[in-house]
């Protein structure tokens, strides 16, 4: 793909708007790190960003850099594109399970988005896609180079 075409597409795709409690996550992405939260009382790692531990209710929580390793938990291959995705062809909307436990939604890159190529529980690693001002975490098969 040519750079201008990619830039055009990227600009039309939904751009997350960080809020105060999510800003550290997006700052991490900009630095090339997947930063999530963990409870300092019970040790539970969790995602999405929020100020209370979902396991024990403690507000004594901290940010840490996750390994970026994950496995493919489930997905669909969407044939009715969202705005900005019109030129991508059918694309997977996936949920991955991070090595640390939490799950997150993502897209899968560096692999054909077909049922034959996307096998549940396959090993993945995080990579980041620049979209406007935002660096968006996406996942690619472990060992693949982006």
């Amino acid at each position: 793909m040519s750079a201008p075409a990619a830039a055009t597409r990227a600009s039309a795709k939904p751009l997350p708007e960080p809020t105060p409690e999510t800003q550290p996550f997006w700052d991490g992405c900009a630095a090339g790190e997947l930063r999530i939260q963990r409870c300092r009382e019970c040790g539970k790692p969790y995602f999405y960003p929020r100020p209370v531990c979902p396991e024990c209710g403690s507000t004594d929580v901290e940010w840490f850099t996750a390994s970026g390793r994950a496995t493919l938990y489930s997905y669909v291959i969407n044939h009715r594109p969202a705005r900005g995705f019109e030129d991508d062809g059918p694309y997977a909307i996936a949920v991955v399970q991070l090595a640390e436990g939490p799950r997150m939604m993502t897209n899968l890159v560096g692999v054909p988005n077909t049922p034959e190529d996307l096998i549940l529980d396959m090993e993945l690693q995080v990579t980041f896609e620049q979209r406007g001002e935002i660096s968006l975490p996406v996942f690619t098969p472990a060992g693949a180079q982006q």
Partner: protein, 382 residues
């Protein structure tokens, strides 16, 4: 009034028609359904002192349009199951003496989009930040995500998933108001357009216009109305997660399970007591999750249970007998239509009437497995 004091659904009606109604605004659909339901109860608007519906237009607009000044308002809006929760909350309000007769309305111009609010984008919301950027397009591309995990864990086949739509079409064929009535086969389903693999078009709900309304009042008045009273024997509500990616377990609905447990406990019933079942079917996998969450089958067996014919006409557990969201109608917040069919079956006035329905159970979904409501409806008070 004691805790044991029962409530009934005294009036229940849909809009004059459902389907494609470009001449109706959202508010008109509420109003027509409300007028029909109040007439069905043999009441007048002056008898209504409580109102419940979802924004927009919301309880204030609907009550005002009907000339009602309610003493009780419920604007609970947790997706398509909201109307089941409205029944539950109305039962509590009536028991508490806050209201005597509550009108619950639904109207949605889901297809024609007349007088509707624009769909909120909200890219600073949590789903806006953590799901929308990945190209979700409403429920078709997100509600559907859990099923591949379920298929891997429990061996559900593509053919079994497709058969859910086939079974419900058999019911729709008996319902003159259903949008799609022609018989279909598993091959037809699997040959229909892929919407979000592994889901095909015929495994996804319709998008229609329509409305429905209910009148809920004290069981002490059960003999006062023209139609047989439908007793609200048990109710439950619960939730799972606000985003599909955060659903606790992709192979089961926690919200269905907990809401069902509460409703069955209050009613004092088990699955063996249930003659008729409605499970919100925005997509073909939802009835499978519902059957298992409420204990009608063991985990992993609901796909085969449906494929073996148990839920279709002649089967031992009639399910989604109006044709469901897959074949009857689906305005966007379908729960009202599931309740309406449960009421019709208990009254004995359904298009595809099941013989001798003493107990009908209605299972509602809100959002994408985000919330649930369950109602146990009965012909007799307990």
């Amino acid at each position: 009034m004691s805790r044991d004091h029962g409530v009934i659904i005294a009036g229940a009606a849909e809009t004059n028609s459902v389907g494609k109604l470009p001449d109706y605004s959202t508010l008109q659909l509420h109003v027509e359904a409300a007028v029909n339901a109040v007439a069905d109860a043999g009441m007048s608007m002056r008898d209504i002192d409580g109102i419940a519906t979802v924004n927009a237009p919301g309880p204030v607009q609907v009550a005002h349009a009907l000339g009602i000044t309610p003493a009780y308002m419920d604007g609970t809006a947790v997706g398509g199951t909201s109307f089941l929760l409205h029944v539950r909350h109305a039962a509590a309000a009536i028991r508490a003496g806050y209201a005597s007769t509550v009108l619950i309305t639904h109207g949605e111009s889901g297809r024609s989009r007349v007088g509707t609010s624009p769909f909120p984008r909200g890219l600073s919301s949590i789903p806006g930040q953590f799901e929308a950027p990945y190209g979700t397009v409403g429920p078709t591309s997100a509600f559907t995500i859990p099923v591949l995990r379920y298929m891997k864990e429990y061996g559900l086949t593509h053919e079994q998933l497709a058969y859910v739509a086939v079974a419900q079409r058999k019911w729709a064929a008996r319902n003159p108001r259903a949008m799609f009535r022609d018989p279909i086969t598993v091959d037809d389903v699997l040959a229909s357009r892929v919407v979000a693999w592994p889901f095909h078009l015929l495994e996804c709900c319709l998008v229609t216009d329509g409305g429905g309304a209910l009148v809920v009042t004290s069981a002490e008045r059960a003999a006062d109305f023209g139609k047989p009273a439908v007793h609200v024997l048990g109710t439950g509500e619960s939730m799972d997660a606000p985003m599909i990616s955060q659903m606790e377990d992709f192979t089961e609905s926690k919200a269905f399970r907990l809401a069902g447990r509460a409703a069955f406990a209050e009613a004092g019933i088990t699955t063996a007591d249930v003659n008729h079942l409605m499970i919100y079917d925005a997509f073909a996998h939802v009835p499978i999750y519902g059957l298992e969450a409420l204990g009608f089958t063991a985990k992993g067996e609901a796909g085969a249970f449906i494929a073996d014919g148990n839920t279709e006409p002649g089967g031992r557990l009639p399910l989604n007998t109006n044709g469901g969201g897959l074949s009857y109608t689906h305005t966007g917040m379908y729960g009202m239509f599931a309740i309406q069919e449960g009421v019709r079956q208990v009254r004995g006035e359904a298009a595809a009437q099941v013989p001798d329905v003493d107990i009908s159970v209605v299972v509602g979904n809100g959002g994408m497995f985000a919330t649930a409501g369950v109602l146990v409806l009965g012909r007799q008070a307990r």
